[in-house]
């Protein structure tokens, strides 16, 4: 599918110059009135949706992390590392885990992304560092640790933070 190529915009823009300020009618406000303000009931319904969908997430959470592990395993075996793909996968896991209250998995995902972002060649040290993150994520998922987890979880994160810090040189 071809990428969209932005073209010149010829919409009316008023006078030309270095700086032009354009007041725009608030069409959204016109459409959502005459009521005003937030609805506590609507927010409660939306929060309930997250709770309802959390169960399905918990069922697939472990599988998604296993997929990440097996993808990395194949890269190790072949020696052909696609760190961008690994990063993107970790990034997705991080976002979704956080949304459903698995903050510790999300935090480990953040650290893994920070580890992978500047990484160039993958040697023994880098492999160990990636392994440490993936194993931690796998363990936390298996234990279904919600929130930030117990004290030991804090120590795990501190250990991973030290690894990331060291990898920065």
């Amino acid at each position: 599918m071809p990428r969209a190529q932005p073209k010149a915009n010829t919409a009316p823009r008023g006078k030309t110059g270095d700086y032009e300020e354009i007041e725009v009618p608030n069409k959204l406000l016109e459409k959502v009135g005459p009521g005003v303000g937030a609805s506590a009931a609507a927010l409660e319904r939306a929060e309930a949706v997250v709770e309802q969908m959390k169960e399905a997430y918990e069922e697939r959470m472990g599988a998604e992390i296993e997929t990440l592990l097996s993808t990395y395993g194949r890269m190790r075996t072949s020696g052909a590392y696609d760190l961008d793909a690994l990063h993107d996968r970790a990034h997705e896991i991080r976002g979704e885990a956080g949304t459903y209250g698995y903050k510790l998995i999300s935090d480990i995902g953040i650290l893994l992304c920070e580890l992978l972002s500047p990484m160039g060649d993958v040697g023994t040290d880098e492999e160990l560092a990636i392994n440490a993150h993936l194993n931690a994520m796998q363990t936390v998922a298996a234990q279904r640790v919600k929130g930030t987890g117990p004290e030991v979880a804090k120590q795990i994160v501190e250990g991973l933070e030290a690894i990331v810090e060291r990898s920065r040189g």
């Binding site: 969209a4 073209k7 959204l28």
Partner: protein, 189 residues
């Protein structure tokens, strides 16, 4: 009586099917009944003439057309049905350069991942209640990048001083803190 969101036409653009389903369900729960979802910016472009959105909620990283490119389409393409369409960009990327880039592309609001029902609702309310004038310069078109007291702003011209934001940016404190930091950053612009 609160806002009635049921008549708003919303485009939701997100490549992760699970996240897309979740956000769409949250939008429905918030009362938005006219939500159409797409897995990337190209799909949204292809559909925009038959479903002109009042509001776009888009992810950043997608292929073949990502959220930034889609924002450029809305703000600057001759085929854009409304260059003033509010755009909420969802992103888990909280690096400083990305936030600045999104703002400079003409994004109206940023929504940090992990998303909660409250942060999503707050951003929707912000585009309804706190619209900013649009600004066109030689290098920018989009909502005014000054988010606070833009009418009364009398301070120095800081358009060319991006590093002034550095003290606000410490994203090593986890996802929730990152969301807070984005808010602080945006409020300071």
């Amino acid at each position: 009586m609160a806002y009635n969101l049921e008549h708003l036409q919303v485009q939701l653009v997100e490549d992760n099917p699970n996240m897309r389903a979740l956000v769409k369900a949250m939008l429905h729960a918030l009362g938005m009944e006219n939500v159409r979802d797409y897995s990337n910016g190209q799909e949204a472009i292809n559909a925009i003439q038959e479903f002109t959105p009042d509001l776009v909620i888009t992810d950043w990283m997608m292929a073949p057309v990502d959220g930034m490119e889609y924002t450029s389409f809305i703000r600057g393409d001759i085929d854009s049905p409304d260059i003033f369409t509010p755009i909420i960009m969802m992103t888990g990327h909280t690096e400083k350069w990305r936030i600045i880039a999104a703002r400079d592309a003409g994004v109206t609001e940023l929504l940090a991942k992990p998303i909660t029902a409250k942060t999503l609702y707050d951003r929707i309310l912000a585009v309804i209640e706190k619209p900013r004038p649009y600004v066109r310069t030689k290098s920018f078109f989009g909502p005014c990048r000054r988010r606070v007291n833009w009418r009364e702003y009398m301070g120095p011209e800081r358009r060319h001083e991006p590093d002034r934001l550095a003290p606000l940016l410490d994203f090593d404190q986890g996802a929730e803190k990152a969301a807070e930091n984005i808010e602080r950053l945006l409020a300071s612009l």
